[in-house]
């Protein structure tokens, strides 16, 4: 197999944290996407194109094993430790913590894959818009679309990135860092997450 050639095209308003593993031909377009540390994006065979406003959390793995371009739409949320190999992902999907989606599945828009779900059909299939997959047996339902605006709003706020942050890429740094250096670098990159905003609630009654 030919060696994988790295080619990253990342919009200047997207934030790619230190300690993210990128491999192959990867495009993150038109800004506002966030890739958290320890996420992995692997374009093994074909390239991966990610739209705007996606959040890719820690330990999430996005893999393209096919020759064709893997297209991920806008405003998708990939939570901690999920693994996605779908050749197409629409807009506004949520892949929850530890969910796995096989390369046989194409995901529409507004879908939710629940925490820990395995979506591994042997034959190719397309998940219609608003499909919700949940539970240990990966059962399905259709979402009525209620709370869509609220969810969009939450996500928009979650990724508020100040425009001064240019993308900083440092692929495959591995773990050769000492604690002290981590704090300075990582917090520099991630400072974009917090923008000054008045806080209504000062004390949390969590105790």
């Amino acid at each position: 197999m030919a060696p994988i050639r790295d080619k990253y095209t990342i919009h200047s308003k997207a934030v790619v944290c230190q300690d993210v593993e990128l491999k192959g031909d990867i495009t993150i377009g038109s800004g506002r996407s966030i890739v958290h540390p320890k996420a992995t994006i692997f374009a093994i065979a074909g390239p991966i194109v990610i739209g705007s406003g996606c959040i890719i959390e820690e330990g999430a793995i996005i893999v393209n094993r096919r020759k064709e371009v893997m297209r991920i739409g806008d405003d998708n949320l990939f939570e901690i430790g999920c693994r996605v190999e779908s050749p197409t992902v629409g807009d506004f999907n949520t892949i929850s913590t530890r969910a796995r989606v096989h390369h046989t599945v194409r995901i529409g828009s507004y879908c939710v894959i629940g925490a820990g779900c395995l979506v591994v059909p042997t034959e190719d299939e397309f998940l219609d818009d608003y499909t919700v997959i949940y539970g240990p047996a990966a059962e399905r339902r259709t979402w009525s679309g209620r709370g869509k605006v609220q969810e969009a709003d939450l996500r928009e706020k979650a990724r508020r990135v100040s425009p001064r942050d240019a993308s900083k890429i440092q692929p495959a740094t591995a773990w050769r860092r000492v604690l002290a250096s981590v704090s300075s670098i990582v917090s520099n990159v991630i400072n974009g997450f917090r923008t000054a905003d008045t806080i209504y609630m000062v004390s949390t009654k969590l105790a």
Binding site: D19, P37, K38, E57, E58, G59, I80, G81, T97, R98, A115, G116, G135, P136, D153, L154, K157, A158, R160, W175, R177, V178, L179, V182, S183, V186, S187, I190, F193, R194, T195, A196, D197, T198, I199, Y200, M201, T204, L206, A207
Partner: protein, 188 residues
Amino acid sequence: MEPPIYYSKAEYIETDTGNKVSRRATIAGPQNIILGGKTIISSGAIIRGDLRRTGAGHAVVISLGRYCLVGEGCVMRPPYKTYRGNFNYYPMKIGDHVHIGANTVVEAATIGNHVEIGKNCVIGKFTIIKDCARVADGTIVPPNTVIPALALFSGSPGRFTEDLPESTQEIVEAQTKRYYTRFQPLER
């Protein structure tokens, strides 16, 4: 007497309060993380102390008590929500004698004392776990769950399975202390 669990001395940093933190763990924003002492953070763990509340001032994002264990490949991340239109991360508070198994994802708000969490669990956002509770291996606890004291939760979604004996506190305390003493450096 169980045999010691050895780790290579070069891999772990030991603080003067007895915390042992792996160099292979990803600790973001350590100035916002409090470790109570004699706490072990294993390799591959990810702790996000940088995701803090907006606004000025010192903020504790994640606080761990004494004799805690954060297993290999664990992810600990403060939960977030919007409250009155403002997006915020909220602090995560973990008590003493808490063991968290390998590859577990924790986004809880509060975890009490003497809690055992198994491996490969997902603890959803804003979960509250009370004292002496236990979460079995592979449990998926949905967001906003409250796990009462002395309860064993298991399954997907995590449900109450059984009550734990009254002696749980002593058992877990002895066990976490024993684990800490067994966790010994290996000189090479």
